[in-house]
């Protein structure tokens, strides 16, 4: 906890303050914006560079700076967001959500994101707001572009309506509140801003990963051309948001004349059987006590990187430098410096990893919504970013409906049916 708290008051291990390169901006057609940046009277708010990804990709300081410059040219700053036409984002909506909380027209409020979301999701949408460390689950980091509760296939983006629904309902059973009291226009603007932060974060990640694929003659520098930056990287990220509406999960209606008791019985059999495998994680009791020590993708990335760094540090400490040639020694020192920087980055730019227990299905608390349709989506597509797998393809739609009916009956199932596991019900797990 203390570690996570201090990070927000101290500076980043490596601070990257980009100076916009005219070259990059020009290749994006952004000269005007370049001149406007940094002219405000108050110190401008800035996005945090994804230092964990930078460390993972072993970027040099120059490369970090190049990425920051490009990303700022493409997306602007928290106070002055930019939406290139390729993003398909509505800049007017972004302006309503962005910037400090203020009101320039009577009855209209700006700076919605900083008013309502920033203390959890962070100014960059990295899930590292000041309150984040105290919450379980942690607030979503939008940067990998992964969302859980949606009407689209597992790897696809949520639709605009999905995100509006999340804001309207909140995520029951977590700290994510409902914003039903905000007007529709405000929710709309916030959703647009979430997409903006997500596209920005995903573009940054893609750029950082792109160094690895550079040819040697590029000398470690990304090409600052429109073709690469906009047509390839940015458009690739934006396209998935644009196609989200086409990725809707087809849901055949539950047969109207279904015999509910029979359906529940079939669902129960499937839930406990080797085809659907639900018990492996949710447990024979459905209390979520099966495979319960797994991580979601965000936390797993930190666990894995942490292990790699710890292992390499241990190894490096044992390595004798006595017989190294000057070249080898220089390389060894560079590795040590990278390992130390990575350790600091993990310390300062990530939260202590937390496991994600499978849901206790006897509480009738469903984070992605309690409608039968919501449960259908969850089972069909699994939960993106979480260990929960997709039934799509292996379990036909009518069987998914049986499982939905069984799940919905679980909270009301006579707890005596749990038999030997009864004491666990009492313990409220």
């Amino acid at each position: 906890m203390t570690k996570a708290m201090s990070k927000h008051t101290s500076t980043q291990p490596v601070s990257v303050r980009p100076v916009l390169s005219l070259h990059v901006a020009a290749s994006l057609g952004l000269l005007v914006t370049v001149l406007a940046v940094g002219c405000g009277p108050t110190p401008a708010a800035s996005f945090r560079t994804n230092m964990v990804m930078a460390a993972k990709q072993r970027l040099t300081t120059d490369q970090e700076r190049q990425v920051a410059t490009i990303v700022e040219a493409m997306f602007g700053t928290p106070d002055e967001p930019v939406a290139l036409p390729e993003t398909g984002l509505d800049e007017a909506k972004l302006l309503l959500a962005a910037g400090p909380v203020r009101s320039d027209i009577v009855g209209r409020k700006n700076g919605l994101y900083r008013e309502h979301c920033v203390h959890c999701h962070g100014i960059t949408g990295d899930g590292l707001g000041p309150t984040a460390a105290f919450l379980n689950p942690y607030p979503r980091d939008y940067r990998p572009g992964v969302f859980k509760f949606k009407s689209t296939e597992r790897a696809d983006k949520p639709t605009h309506a999905d995100l509006k629904r999340i804001l309207h309902n909140g995520i029951v059973g977590t700290s994510m509140p409902s914003f039903a009291l905000l007007g529709d226009a405000q929710v709309d603007a916030l959703v647009e801003y979430v997409k903006y932060l997500s596209m920005r974060g995903e573009t940054e990640i893609k750029l950082m990963q792109a160094y690895f694929e550079l040819d040697d003659d590029a000398q470690g520098k990304l090409p600052e051309t429109r073709e690469f930056l906009v047509d390839e990287v940015l458009a690739g990220v934006a396209e998935k948001w644009k196609s989200a509406a086409d990725a809707a999960i087809p849901v055949p209606e539950m047969p109207a004349d279904i015999d509910l008791a029979a359906s529940i019985a079939k669902g129960k059999e499937l839930f406990h059987g080797d085809k659907a495998n639900c018990v492996k994680c949710h447990g024979v009791t459905a209390l979520g006590d099966g495979q319960a020590n797994d991580y979601d993708d965000w936390n797993k990335a930190i666990v894995d990187f942490g292990r790699e760094i710890a292992g390499s540090r241990e190894q490096a400490a044992k390595t004798s430098t006595a017989e190294m040639s000057p070249d080898e020694l220089a390389e060894h020192k560079a590795t040590l410096a990278w390992l130390e920087k990575s350790r600091q980055v993990l310390d300062g730019d990530s939260l202590r990893p937390r496991t994600i227990p499978p849901r206790n299905l006897r509480q009738a608390v469903y984070r992605g919504g309690r409608r039968p349709l919501d449960l259908y989506y969850r089972i069909h597509a699994g939960i993106h970013g979480a260990p929960m797998p997709a039934a799509k393809g292996t379990i036909p739609p009518e069987e998914i409906w049986h499982i939905v009916n069984y799940i919905r009956s679980l909270p009301y199932e006579f707890d005596g049916e749990l038999g030997a596991d009864r004491s666990m019900v009492a313990s409220g797990r």
Partner: protein
Amino acid sequence: MKFGSFAAVALLLCSTVVSAEEWGTLKGRFKFGGAAPQAAALKADKDAEVCGKHKLVSEELVVGADGGVANVVVFVRDKDVKVHPDMAALKNVKAVMDNKDCRFEPHVVFVQTGQPFVIKNSDTVGHNSNVQTIKNPAENKIIPANGEATATFKLDEAIPAAITCNIHPWMKAWVVVRDNPYAAVSKPDGSFEIKNLPAGELEFQFWHEKAGYLGEATVGGKAEKMARGRKKLKIAAGENDLGEIVLDGKMFQK
């Protein structure tokens, strides 16, 4: 013919005039430099009555009795590489990854973009296969006992993608996704072979799960540096044998 080192291959080929329609085979054998560590036993504590009886060990690093390093990935990095007519049809052959005895078989599978990739389950327990690709959509499907699921990848991946099972957390395998047929995974004896390569200069990349991209190798007694595991080689018509490629054990200690 057998060449001592990468350099020798290059040298020899510079003097050869390579015609457009010539094809060559690249082969070699990876050998562990130093004493290979014992593979750690895995704790198969989920579905223990089925998975517990297989005496599973970690396959992160598999070194044969004669020092051969299995599961080293070698692939051509060049884009738009010319494909031999005999190789084109390989795209239609199913690539298969099996869930068998609570482990994945094979440990590393090579799949081309567009090629059907079947994940099947020969076990009596259910599995799920969480494929962590970077460019292609991430999939995580339930694979029922004796069932299977098929996928295809649209884009090639710069690094092999991990496949894990969330139900049995010790299970891990890798899929190499490339947009041409020129890749190989070294066998248990450490040997690999890529056939029908277009003659001429190609850039190869060498990767291993534990060591990452292989930054160095000793080929024919000569130490070679390979930044990000890359090495340009001139492929001559016929056989191009790199011989023994010794990988320093230090690279695998992480």
